[in-house]
Amino acid sequence: MSSTTPQSNNTSSRKRKAPIAGNNHRPHKYARLNNARKISSQTSDKAFSEGNLNVDKFVKAREYEIKALEDGLRKSKAVLSQRAFQDVPKDLRRRTASHNVKWIPKRLRPRAAKEMVEDNTPTVTARRRKPSTHQRLRLETAKRLQKLSVKSKERRQEKKAQQSEAEVKVSVEGEEPKQASPALSVCKPRVKMATLKTAPIPKAKFKKRQIHKTWLPTHLWHSKRAHMTPPKEPLWRFALPLTPTAKCYRTTHRATTQRGAVAWDMSYMSTIGLDGPEKSIEGLLKALGVGADGDGSGAWGKSGLKWRQGTRTWEGWLHEREEWPAKRIAPATVIWNAKTQPEEDVLVAKGEDAPPNKSKENRKVSIRVHPAGFMQLWEQVIRLGKVQKPTVTVEDLRFEIGSIEISGPNAAEALVGILHPESLAKGGTDMGNLDGAHDIWHYLSNQSPSSLPPNILLAFEASDPRLRHPPRTIQSPADLDTQKRIRQICTTWPLDSNPRPATLFERSNRLKSQRSLPSQKSINRRKTLADPGQYPKSRPNDPKIPTLVFASRGNTATAGTWTILLPWKCIEPVWRSLMYYPLAIGGSVRFGGVREKRQIAFESGSAWFPGDFPGTKAGDEWELQEKVKRKAEWEKRPKGRRVEWDSLDLGMGRKGEIGTGWACDWQILGPKPTEADADVKEIFFESLPRSFAAQLVAGKSTESIHPPHALITVEITMITKGVPQTCARIYRLPTANIDLRAKWLAQVPTPASKRPSVKKAPTLRRPGADAPLAEHKGYAAALIMVATPSQVGSADYPPVPDEDDLIGFVTTGKFNLGEGKGSGIASLLLEKVVVPNTLVSGEDHTALKKEHTLCIVRDAGQSIGRLAKWELAL
């Protein structure tokens, strides 16, 4: 209870000055604390006056004690050293709130102010904080640069003034000055086709930081709230948010499956524009493997009609030229722009009997692809475009079109809440007529991609979301009439019968919208002029942001995703509105990084490109990158604390990890190098399309496996316990050692073995010869009863199979919040898991077929294998 020494008051080096003598709160505080923690007690003399011990007094003494203790509990809780800012909900806490009461919610401010005085915490504002050494250096440099720039500006202005003076003189001497054209017509810029675009030139201030990478349009927003890629290691040549700074693993899971929404700025996705006659584009896309797995009825048949009309999207894998099913590049979304409709015939859209001049009209297609596969695809597309007759012009739209993805149960609500179609913004909609996307847009607020027709596409022009900032929660339609209308829309989908071209495909529209975005300053001015509680009125020259929205269904009901494509510079205002949209269920839209994207894919049991697709160029590069990281992590640890791969005991006299411990070592899956050929060639693996692989796996396809060394992507589900980790080794059931196979099969839990064995089974005793028949029967049944699976760690737990039975590696593995247990995404070598043809022809092989999908998963560096089941992943 000693107060701080007053001598140190004058020493300026102390960070916190000792409290002023008159205003000394600290001793008071400790006295209060001490007081509150004291528990009162009686004396025995008082409790038992006259030394009498009887029941009454005994009870009285206890009652006093109870009261004293309860009082003590309450008092000590009241003075618990909880600061005011600790009462703020976790996700609203700010670090600065502990230095400045201004950052604390108003309700808690007086208490916080009092506490700050008591604790002698100085109030700190960023403006008045003394800059650190490093900061000071930067500030000084900035000041110097500012001075220089001011000087040079002055010089430039002087020069300009001199020039204009000279010009005026000339014009006065000569004829009349030319009249400026009244309307500045936008000069149509010549766009170089088939060349790679460079990123937009950043502001001088940020130029140096973007030398080897590009920033997302929302970089400044993200860099304050997320862990970004390290400066020297950009991902796919972008500075990307990896994961939000706040812990969010579980909340992301909840927001995407139960309530809320998660959004990503996906502007790093690459877009390629194609322009040419429909036949040529069709040839190009077919060569890339679009619709190759269907037998005529797919993308190019009747069911693909809506897609080609431009009212639906197509999502799937693209391959290298004419290489299907090999040489996969990346999953992509292909969107056709609808034809411009002549005024007179609306019927044309429905039938195939288009007038002849129609076919000559150029169509536009955009391909949206992951940047990891962009360069590979770009080369293919360029070459294919030239081959077509007539040729297809190819344009790189990478930094012209950006995108935002949003998924979760309330995703549509947030989108509808912030994007307002222009015609809607101008006036009310005509209820009877629902032919444009802008008419049905606001009916979609309660829908999810899986409740709507598959792969829908909506194109409209949205107003500037900054004019309606902060966004307000929209009212969900409640009346029966609207409900009925929504049902009608979902079933008939009126957009299909009336395809309209999307303005986003036109370069001039994109540029116009970007250039006409008003400055924040002018928007603020308009907001101040607006009536209180009203949004500013729209003006005729407000930007119309060309927007393309499409929905993609996931493989579970909630895994659907909405994607909005916007001009690059319009991403930022839309993103800022999206992040502040108050959802009807409470809270706002969360944001995610690359890791969250991967997490969502993993939890819905689908593979994530490129990480889960070894056997594609992008996937192999990813693995190479990860391998280096894992190796560095391993090497960082001291020797005693890292896994010694060589001394790993795999049982049955086998020692050492198979392949490199920190990698998914695909090369060891190939044929063993013999002594003869010393120079081992690197094997290239091929990732196979799912539909194609499914036929091969089932043994339905009679052709031999093509290509060799094919990999299939599978989902691993643990049968017993265990959580597979990345790089875990996967074995099939032992093929050579029959005993071991039987042992592993005994590990499959049967309904009998699942029952918890509370009591030990009584020892079996053979019934006597004169025992009743039932007893004999029971004995026989007990003899053949399935043995309970042996426990991990016990002596009879089966060791893992041999290296010959190694079939693949886990590429993503962890605890799956969706499943409630461990699961993984893995790739397997197809040759080793195909059902032999001989089996397929036989009739009763159901048991064998079941065994065929069983596998054994062993984490790298561990000797224990665990039983799992695999099935083809999406």
């Binding site: 528990i39 007690s41 009686q42 004396t43 025995s44 003399d45 008082k46 409790a47 038992f48 030394g51 009498n52 011990l53 009887n54 029941v55 005994f58 009870v59 003494a61 206890r62 009652e63 006093y64 004690e65 109870i66 004293a68 203790l69 309860e70 003590g72 509990l73 000590s76």
Partner: protein, 192 residues
């Protein structure tokens, strides 16, 4: 941040032989005699000295050194013969043994006794809650035994056998709704 971790021992002082210094009539129930009040001259200093001497006797200077820094009496109530003792988490067993081995309260009191550690907990709060629970239980029990004319009931034996952290089932249903009786560990009660 490093946190100094403690254990809080809740102890009861029991008088199995004879109630000390208090005039007792013969019809006083055994429950009450057993848990008779301690004389007032048993103060925190006396308890501390007793523990230190006990530890010193059993473990020598080493033991004393280990506990001396952290030993503190948080609560001592003579009329109910209850105390809460704080000791560092690593060495609380030294104190526990010293308390168990004690057979007499030291000089100014000088009475034969048994000291029972009824609960060890990591927080004062839990020790206090347990003390409240036990006080409530003992009120009920003393009233019951007064009605049954002070025969040595099974309650005492049960109470005596309660060791360490095991909770005792509350004998009467009416105090079950007390704030501290919701512990899940109630099912773990062992009476052997």
């Amino acid at each position: 941040m490093v946190r100094i971790k403690h254990r809080y021992l809740l102890i009861n002082i029991l008088y199995p032989s004879k109630a000390p210094n208090f005039s007792t009539k013969d019809d006083i129930p055994d429950v009450i005699q057993f848990r008779a009040p301690t004389p007032d001259n048993f103060e925190t200093g006396v308890l501390l000295r007793m523990i230190k001497e006990g530890v010193n006797e059993l473990y020598g200077d080493y033991g004393l050194g280990m506990i001396a820094g952290s030993l503190k009496i948080i609560y001592l109530s003579a009329p109910t013969s209850t105390a809460i003792i704080r000791v560092s988490r690593d060495h609380y067993r030294l104190v526990w043994t010293a308390l168990t081995m004690a057979t007499r309260l030291p000089k100014p009191v000088d009475l034969p006794c048994v000291i029972q550690v009824v609960r060890t907990s990591g927080t004062i709060r839990k020790a206090e809650e347990e003390a409240i629970r036990r006080a409530k239980a003992s009120i009920v029990r003393s009233k019951q035994s007064a009605q049954t004319n002070g025969s040595v009931g099974i309650d005492i034996l049960r109470d005596f056998n309660l060791v360490g952290r095991y909770h005792q089932p509350s004998p009467a249903p009416n105090i079950r709704d007390g704030p501290t009786n919701h512990d899940s560990s109630e099912s773990e009660v062992q009476i052997d």
